[in-house]
């Protein structure tokens, strides 16, 4: 029951940041909000595993933590240079 309550409170935080993601004035606000949502979802996936009683699926949150970092840096690099490659 406790994990369910925590899952719901995380959803509330998700909603708050989603407002910033949609309403954010500059692109940097949106990128920051997307990155924070990624972190929150990483936590939510692992807590969901505990709620279902099968916490073996934490691998997904590891993958997501890696992907979230790479994606954010890729978006920022594209915004900086206008392309992803070196040439």
């Amino acid at each position: 029951m406790m994990f369910l309550a925590i899952l719901f409170s995380i959803s509330v935080c998700f909603l708050l940041i989603l407002i910033r993601l949609i309403a954010g004035k500059t692109t940097y606000d949106r990128i920051l909000a997307a990155n924070s949502i990624g972190t929150i979802v990483v936590l939510a996936i692992s807590i969901h595993g505990f709620y279902m009683g099968r916490p073996e699926f934490i691998d997904i949150s590891i993958v997501y933590a890696l992907i979230n970092f790479i994606g954010t840096v890729a978006v920022l690099k594209l915004f900086d240079k206008g392309k992803l490659g070196d040439k």
């Binding site: 369910l4 899952l7 959803s11 998700f14 989603l18 993601l21 949609i22 692109t27 949106r30 990128i31 997307a34 949502i37 990624g38 979802v41 939510a44 996936i45 969901h48 595993g49 279902m52 699926f57 691998d59 997904i60 993958v63 997501y64 890696l66 992907i67 979230n68 790479i70 994606g71 890729a74 978006v75 594209l78 915004f79 206008g82 392309k83 992803l84 490659g85």
Partner: protein, 192 residues
């Protein structure tokens, strides 16, 4: 049971909100950001439906690689989407889409109910796969065992495709001129 329905409803409404905003935004980079967020919620949804392998794929391919591929493609695109005006041909296309979609939904009523244990799919082989795959092959994941080993013969074409893709990656990574360029770079450095 109720709590699971509530969780799923929450996630689906998140996905709906994000999808509406994806349709609404005109800046392509925001669309990509929102699409990444969307597929991340989808991964959470698959976890709550107990489809862990699909969630794994969604997290790594849907949220990771496709976002980066979209970004790489974006550098060749204009930054803003052009607002398209309404065309008469669109009505024709729309009606065809609606017709075919309706037909497909109608046809789907003849399929057996999803999750019914009396379905022909669940009657034979499946139990054998689930019980025996660990001992037959020695790979703990049933999905991997079925894809890579049991279906090894009837997905022979698929295996060839994957092999070709791997070969292509090696050919791309293999630097044919590496030794010569290395020499020339070293020469330049020594000249300086």
């Amino acid at each position: 049971m109720i709590t699971e329905i509530i969780i799923n409803a929450f996630l689906v409404s998140f996905m709906l909100v994000i999808a509406l905003f994806i349709v609404n935004t005109r800046k392509v980079i925001f669309t990509i950001l929102l699409a990444g967020t969307y597929s991340l919620v989808a991964a959470l949804m698959f976890v709550s439906l107990d489809a862990v392998d699909v969630a794994f794929t969604e997290a790594s391919v849907g949220a990771g690689i496709s976002t980066i591929l979209f970004l790489a493609a974006l550098s060749f695109l204009p930054k803003e989407e052009v607002q398209e005006s309404f065309n008469k041909n669109d009505i024709f296309a729309l009606s065809i889409c609606l017709l075919i979609g309706g037909l497909l939904i109608w046809a789907s009523y003849d399929l057996p109910m999803v999750g019914n244990e009396n379905n022909p799919v669940h009657q034979h082989l499946v139990s054998d796969f689930i019980e025996g795959s660990k001992n037959h092959i020695g790979i703990p994941n049933v999905v991997t065992a079925i894809l890579a080993s049991y279906r090894g013969y009837d997905t022979f074409g698929e295996t060839i495709v994957i092999y070709t893709a791997g070969l292509a990656v090696f050919i791309l990574l293999y630097n044919r001129t590496s030794k010569e360029t290395n020499k020339s770079v070293k020469n330049e450095i020594s000249k300086k």
